[in-house]
């Protein structure tokens, strides 16, 4: 028996080794959620800091003028929005006083620079130059002034990995900002699709979808995507909707990270 086994292994050693290595790979794949593995993953941050070190001077030199123009435009847009918001805040405070509601605390935000954008079918990610030392927490929402970018999936003292919304495995609960129609946003590898929006709902091209109250990661009301195509012609009970991300993920260079504790906010919301 042993002789036969040795002969078999000797004759088919490449297949035996192949099978053993496949089993090892499957074993590692099954371990992905383990804490030890996620700690092991943090070794990658060495490379991110190296990339940051190598890339920053070149980037600064090449894109300074371009970035200045983008920031100038952002600044103008934000000033306009701020003026509008100040008006709204006045109105809101008056209404809250009238209704005797509790005033919510403002969200604490942190400005961060995107130092790396990596494309991968499952884990499209950005690396930002802020980490634990700056108060960033796991699962913190990351967005730009124009819309949602993603959430913090991994972090060390000085850097964080942000999984962007254009990932095949992410599903986001969204609602139409105009009509309130609910749906699920996902990315099909090329564009954003919004599923489960009933044909009886009101959806038009150009409508903005924002995060809904049902999202387990993101706070409600953040702009996510704008409808570019909406059709009722499919044979299902739902719309066929294609959307474009509000935030241009390929162009964005800076982002905002929410520093508040989302869990506490959710619990507070549920209690209320």
């Amino acid at each position: 028996m042993i002789y036969w086994l040795i002969r078999f292994i000797n004759n088919y050693r490449q297949y035996v080794i192949f099978a053993i290595l496949i089993l090892f790979s499957l074993f590692f794949l099954s371990l992905n959620e383990a804490k030890e593995i996620s700690n092991l993953r943090k070794t990658s941050f060495i490379f991110y800091s190296l990339i940051d070190y190598l890339k920053s001077p070149v980037d600064d030199f090449l894109h300074l003028k371009n970035e200045f123009e983008i920031l100038k435009k952002e600044n103008t847009d934000l000033t306009q929005q701020l003026l509008k918001l100040k008006e709204y805040e006045k109105e809101r405070n008056q209404l809250l006083e009238l209704l005797n509601f509790e005033r919510a605390n403002p969200i604490k935000l942190l400005n961060a620079r995107i130092i790396l954008k990596s494309s991968d079918p499952v884990r499209n990610k950005f690396v930002i130059d802020k980490g634990k030392n700056d108060g960033v927490k796991l699962n913190a929402t990351v967005f730009s002034y124009s819309g949602l970018i993603g959430y913090v999936s991994d972090l060390t003292s000085n850097y964080s990995v942000v999984y962007t919304i254009n990932n095949l495995n992410i599903r986001i609960s969204v609602k139409n900002a105009r009509s309130g129609a609910m749906g699920i946003l996902s990315w099909d590898g090329e564009k954003f699709k919004i599923y489960n929006v009933s044909k009886s709902a009101d959806v038009k091209e150009g409508d903005l979808f924002v995060t809904s109250d049902f999202s387990s990661i993101f706070p409600a009301g953040l702009p996510v995507a704008r409808v570019t195509y909406a059709s009722q012609s499919s044979e299902t009970l739902f719309y066929d909707i294609t959307a474009k991300s509000e935030c241009d993920l390929s162009e964005v260079k800076f982002c905002l990270v929410e520093l508040g504790d989302l869990e506490k906010k959710k619990i507070k919301f549920l209690i209320r």
């Binding site: 490379f47 190296l50 990339i51 884990r123």
Partner: protein
């Protein structure tokens, strides 16, 4: 033989670093060459299927760890790619003959297989969008890898002439 393997492992380590640092910086959207795979296929054709598979698995695993990816995904996909490439390795082949004995075709097919396995095991993509995903994350990076392998060949030849 041992010298050649040690030299190859050193070059593969350099390619891994290049993939993790330089390719991450120069890649644009879906255009992301896999220089490590070029090295692994070359190594497999030069050193045989078994050594190729072991290096494919080891460097794939290292890449998973160092790139914050799904641990085991690159290990498995690169293992299968090198297993395939191993069928075309010959004992008597030298470094010059590899390029002229269908290296680019083997690399092209191995890269397509590698990307297919990677996408298949790491994403729960809807079947009707599989083709789009496979073109964007399989075919385009494979073509980028092919272009990069031509550059590598060009520079290798130039350094040989010097």
């Amino acid at each position: 033989m041992n010298d050649r393997i040690i030299k190859s492992v050193f070059y593969l380590s350099l390619l891994l670093l290049f993939q993790l640092i330089v390719v991450e910086i120069i890649s644009f959207k879906y255009i992301k060459p896999d220089v490590l795979l070029i090295g692994l296929i070359y190594f497999t054709l030069l050193n045989g299927q078994i050594l190729g598979m072991i290096s494919g698995f080891s460097f794939g695993l290292l890449m998973d760890i160092l790139s914050a990816g799904v641990i085991g995904s690159n290990a498995l996909s690169k293992l299968i790619a090198t297993f395939f490439a191993g069928y075309f390795s010959r004992e008597d082949v030298n470094e010059r003959e590899i390029i002229s004995s269908g290296f680019f075709l083997i690399l092209f097919i191995a890269s397509l297989i590698e990307k297919f396995v990677y996408i298949f095991i790491t994403s729960n993509v809807d079947f009707k969008y599989l083709l789009i995903v496979y073109v964007n994350y399989g075919l385009i990076p494979t073509l980028a890898t092919m272009v990069f392998s031509l550059f590598m060949l060009f520079f290798t030849r130039r350094s040989e002439v010097r």
